[in-house]
Symmetry: C2
Subunit: 135 residues, 2 copies
């Protein structure tokens, strides 16, 4: 990792205190059609690894470790762009989704539930049984 890379990582406003210290939300958006595929979390190391590999690496809050997306399922994300917002406290990745499946349920996007008539309704099909890609 170069000094230059560390500069831009330090320019992100990583939170200092509280339960979420050092981690920020990261959005993966389909680089081609703009669909939001998933939201996960990143710390400095995850963002550095993402830039280095050109593949999305998140920080798993439940497992408290780096999570190279697709490490189990094979559904990696090729990073086309890395963006941040005006407060520099959210990361946006534009990605190409390997296998066309970002969600652990086997759907293309994690955002498959839509509020319709006061209830969450499933709006997208399971493309592949998760049992086939989580061993």
């Amino acid at each position: 990792m170069t000094a230059l890379m560390i500069d831009w990582i330090d320019q992100i406003r990583w939170p200092e205190g509280g339960a979420e210290a050092g981690i920020l939300p990261a959005i993966a958006q389909d680089a081609d059609n703009g669909d939001i595929l998933m939201v996960a979390w990143m710390n400095r190391e995850a963002l550095a690894k993402t830039a280095e590999l050109g593949e999305a690496v998140y920080y798993s809050r439940s497992r408290q470790r780096l999570w190279h997306k697709g490490e189990e399922s094979g559904h990696t994300q090729q990073v086309v762009e890395i963006r941040t917002d005006c407060d520099r406290d959210v990361i946006l990745l534009k990605v190409r989704q390997t296998g066309g499946i970002a969600c652990h349920t086997g759907r293309r996007s994690c955002f498959f539930e839509r509020l319709i008539d006061g209830a969450w309704q499933v709006t997208a099909p399971v493309l592949k049984d998760p049992e086939t890609f989580y061993k």
Copy 2:
């Protein structure tokens, strides 16, 4: 608010402890072209209000109160869809952005900085001087 509405709000996984208790990230996405306009935060009340009004209402962490987007600037967001993800811990709003400006800097989207050659570079113009819409 109907009992039915309270049901779907209770089905969201609002965090219980820590610094971020009761609040979750909320993404505003352009309903027409898929651009991500901004990310803010919501609590139960913000989400209930958003559904009730059909306009985005967030929870401001810095001001610790509800924030009806556009209350000062006039740049309200008309809500076309409300979605959640597979963990039900992120809210996605598909919106139509009044004035075409979501960002407090006067840009269309808050995600105007892109990482290019190891530095954050501004990729979108200021459409309107913020001094003209924040009095």
